[in-house]
């Protein structure tokens, strides 16, 4: 089963590498991984989509927690959440198909962001399943190139809070 895991990490040199190294070292799958700033400048949020049996997913969460740079790890799977992904898709068109492609774009509420005499580039945003659907529809026209951002996700309503009370020891 697919899991979406949200991780707050110290925005430090190497934190991303550490997570990536841990995944490859432990043999865990990564479907997508995205990282960016949060409302707090020293903290970044990683959203990791991974897949495996429950037992493995439990290990993934524990291993993420074990990393010194991770502040908070939440498995969003099964929780009420918003998930979005952005895709840029460049499709070939012929005389007759340009309008069709643009209507696909409109149906999925995308944007046409580039066009030349052979190809047209669409920007589609939505839950990953929507992106999959667009890709399916566009495939027969011939997809020249595609870039997907990977999922970003937040719990609905109350957001993950960063522990502002820095823990001090010794």
């Amino acid at each position: 089963m697919k899991h979406t895991i949200s991780v707050l990490v110290e925005n430090q040199f190497g934190a991303f590498n550490r997570v990536a190294t841990m995944f490859s070292g432990k043999g865990f799958n990564i479907h997508s991984i995205s990282i960016g700033e949060t409302e707090t400048p020293e903290v970044s949020r990683m959203t990791i989509v991974t897949e495996g049996e429950d037992k493995i997913m439990e290990q993934v969460v524990k291993q993420l927690n074990r990393l010194i740079d991770t502040i908070k790890v939440i498995d969003l799977t099964g929780q009420d959440r918003v998930e979005r992904e952005l895709a840029l898709i460049t499709v070939f068109y012929q005389k007759g198909t340009r309008a069709e492609i643009i209507s696909v774009n409109d149906i999925f509420r995308g944007n046409v962001v580039d066009i030349n005499n052979k190809t047209i580039t669409l920007e589609i945003t939505g839950p990953p399943s929507k992106i999959d659907a667009v890709v399916n529809v566009l495939e027969p026209y011939g997809i020249k190139e595609m870039a997907r951002s990977g999922t970003v996700a937040l719990k609905r309503g109350e957001q993950l809070k960063i522990d502002k009370n820095i823990v001090t020891q010794q």
Binding site: V9, K55, K62, L67, I68, D69, I166, Q169, Q170
Partner: protein, 572 residues
Amino acid sequence: MRNPNQTLSGADIFFECLRQEKVEYIFGYPGGAVLKLYEKLYDVDFLKHILVRHEQGAAHMAEGYAKASGKIGVVLVTSGPGATNTVTGIADAYMDSVPIVVFTGQVATHLIGNDAFQEADIVGITRPITKHNFLVRDVKELAATIKKAFYIASTGRPGPVLVDLPKDVINSVCEFEYPEKVELRGYKPTFLGHQNQIKKAAEIIKKAKRPLLYVGGGVIMSNGERELKLFAKENNLPVTMTLQGLGAFPGNDPQSLGMLGMHGTYYANQAVNNCDVLVSLGARFDDRVTGKVDTFAINAYKIHVDIDPTCIDKNVVVDLPIVGDVKHVLAELAAELNEPLQLDEWWNQINKWKEICPLHYEKNDGKLRSEFIIEKISEKTKGEAVVVTDVGQHQMWTAQYYKFNNPRSHLTSGGLGTMGFGLPASIGAAFATKDRPVILISGDGGFQMNIQELATVVYYKLPVKIFVINNSFLGMVRQWQELFHDEKYSFTDLSASNPDFVKVAEAFGLKAFSTNSILNVDEILDEALAYNSGPVLVEFKVVKEDMVFPMVPAGKSISQMMTKRLDPKEMV
């Protein structure tokens, strides 16, 4: 003490921090990137720098020191090759949870990434084998980083931490203030076990008919040996230990079943198979312990106490996890259990197993065997020595035949199984141990992997007793070849290429003896053990083709244990 807020160079700050951390020894080797630190070291008097002969040796020495003392081992090496040479030692410390801090020199920050002379991305290289690592990019971060490094290495589940020090950071200056507190919001290592879980565990143990304590290195790391002893004794519980757990409970106590697992005792493994409640204390269900996992303690209710949540349910799914410091949990468990358990039937059964199949080896053919030598060493030192081993057959025989009385006395590379660990680790242990003999038991193969450290042991006049068990083979590999690889002894026979160990030792300046006779063993051991003005080496030329038994073949269930050689297919 210097005034706080005084302007200091990175190199001065480095030593001030080590002083504050009460570091007694640095195991190190100089080079270009750390010249400034060595310049300062020349005048430092509050700690001692131990010059090694290879940086791998430095890392293992730090491990030996840390394991024997419970303090943090410290390493200082140069960039590039100096740093990469420590990698095996760091990986070893990671696998066995040994608190060491490794300082590596690095090229100046503006050169990082340029393939500069003696540049290696040691932070990248060691990321998967350190508990944490740091590249210090600014001298202003140096003191806080060192503080964090020592804190992370020694708290929670201990482990190695590496701090990479670019040359310009060491040379630049800033105001110095050693932080009093560590600020790490992502790291909360101290756990007291969950109260309700502990109560529940106590209830389960109270009702057990066939309980067993399965004790790992975590008990020793948490200094929980007293609590363990009290708990086991008051409740009359049988105790089996992992390789790293040996010494946590006295080996000659009748309640000790010795080691479990691949080369564990028959009775320990039988007890595991038949127990109804298994209490794992600071152990991690390693595959060398469990054999085939789905048959391990199959009928037992499993309680797992460990400080590291990732250990729980990793290899074996347990019924009752308790995440916490094992010393505390043991004390609380003991407080909950106030009536001794009625375990006569269980003990009768265990004692029967002990009778049916005690540890045994051939004693009547007059040949010199490792088991005999180790048994003698155990008797003569009354189980009180600090015994360091290398990796292989001699390591397993030491675990079986040396009856450890004390924790922090059995120093061996378990998780990584690093040949070459022994000699340098014994040197580190000798710096930490003043009141007990330090003994190295090594094989002829592994001894040659860090043999250069003989120079170190001689230079510092450390009274380490080095026993090289020479079977002219890479014995443990030979054993597997005999049992599982059609007796094809591919590249394991060292008889044509081994050096004369006595001559080698003498060339380095050691006192050295050799014997191949069972008749000399007493006399030679007495002499070696009595010699304290420096190191001594004894080569024991033992039978070539001895085998470690009992043995559970890899991946087999521990009930499929071989207890003797004659017919490997005959399972007990």
